[in-house]
Amino acid sequence: MTELQTHAAEIAAQFSDHIDVETDEIEQRLDQVVSEYKIPIDEARRTVTNSLLDEADIDRDELGRGGAETVLVDEIDQDEQWVDVTVKVVDLWEPRSDSISQVGLVGDESGRIKFVAFETSELDELEEGASYKLGNVVTDEYQGDYSIKLNRTTTITELDEDVEVGDSTTTVDGALVDVQSGSGLIKRCPEEGCTRVLQNGRCSEHGEVDGEFDLRIKAVLDDGHEVQDVIFNREATEELTGIGLEDAKQQAQDALDTSVVADGIRTDILGRYYRVTGPTLGRYVLANEFEQLDSPTDTDAVLTKARSLQ
């Protein structure tokens, strides 16, 4: 599909509930303004869309799910949303029903999600390993698991670049070798939408504010090959250390110093081994799940190897 065809198909999809207009016709109109009048494509879309609105005598607001929101697959958490995704086809499965043309897994940097395409939609087939921009797909939910459904209005654009498929979560093992500053009892900016951690009572964005207490741990896991920064939020900190926000405030009040909380946490967790699982955010893994690792399992194989290397 050419770029123009893609735009034309997207416009056609927007109007599909209102008027009977062919993608070809829209493409011709787009082509005219783009080629003859040298208008940028975004502007051309606007022009063509407006003229179609005029002709059909409908309000822009009535246009269905035009400009569906572009999302990452792990952001999908609602049923029946119209979205755009940029994904790679990870796996194609055998359809179990004659009405289904294709079923499988697609993924982007945030994770993977099941997709279904139906025979009646008469869409181009997706190829395993290829990357696409899928416009106007519908989210579906079944027992808490989400999928996306391709439909008659879905636009499929094959991409030249390869979409990297990430795992939604990472698991790291290692010795907890450092608890960094900014851990323990902290204060966050109370401004709407701002959760910055205050430094000496000041928010870097909002200046001096009356902060709200929170608990967290920024720590370093080290397995002898690599280091990984991890963050335990309030809930995870409480589970890890048994110290709740109220206990922490009390400790700080008794000592007239918030740093006693971090000191206590250090004593509790430094030098132990942990396995932490969670999503990656920048250089951090957020500790959604964790466990302390204790005795090693079978060391016989290592012993055999040690003897062979002598």
Binding site: V227, G271, S295, A306
Partner: protein
């Protein structure tokens, strides 16, 4: 684990048994910058700016003259790590002051070397943190350190392994003795549950490796 280049990468904590660590007397820098990290060269061919170990604290001693300067002896299945903490390592110093040996402890720290009057080089650790842990953590460290040490020995003959090449020049070209150390450390894990006693290693005589 890619990191932004503008953020200095934290040095990994190497795992080595005391028997190998105490042989790591050669140190070097990789840049002329005064603040460039100093590395100890492990005889199995790896650079160590930081180490992590778990062992039994058997003895603590304030060896300072005017100021507190704490020495701790920490024993693993192969030998003894010596740690020294003074006023610039307040948390580690207070841990050594308050701990009652014997106790299992985890240590994160930096290798330090100093030359004694007779010209021999002594290797010790300047701790960043010392915490008490349980026997299971100790056992896990022994198993992990065994694996890491064998990994290094296996990579010792790789052409591209520049630290192995340095180790060959500094310490000789046969790391197999450390495989023996690994085997004996692993054997000690079987059915042993008592706190080991200190071995016969001697503490540095003047007790102050940073002087």
């Amino acid at each position: 684990m890619s990191q932004d280049d503008s953020v200095p990468t934290r040095e990994v904590s190497q795992r080595a048994f005391a028997a190998e660590f105490n042989d790591a007397s050669y140190t070097f820098k990789e840049s002329d910058d005064d603040r460039a990290p100093v590395y100890a060269l492990l005889p199995t061919g790896e650079k160590a700016n930081r180490v992590f170990f778990v062992g039994t604290l058997t003895e603590t001693d304030d060896v300072g003259e005017d100021n507190e300067y704490w020495q701790g002896r920490i024993v693993d299945p192969t030998g003894t790590f010596f740690v020294y903490a003074g006023q610039y390592q307040p948390e580690a110093a207070s841990a050594l002051r308050e701990l009652e040996p014997p106790a299992y402890v985890s240590v994160v720290g930096k290798p330090r070397t100093y030359e004694t009057d007779d010209g021999s080089i002594t290797v010790s650790v300047r701790p960043e943190s010392i915490t008490t842990v349980d026997a299971a953590t100790r056992d896990r460290w022994v198993a992990e350190t065994a694996e890491r040490t064998l990994d290094r020995i296996e990579a010792f003959d790789d052409e591209a392994n520049e630290y192995a090449r340095m180790a060959r020049e500094q310490y000789g070209d046969d790391p197999s003795a450390y495989a023996e150390t690994v085997a004996s450390a692993l054997e000690s894990l079987d059915g042993e549950d008592s706190v080991p006693t200190d071995d016969t290693a001697d503490a540095p005589a003047d007790g102050n490796p940073q002087a």
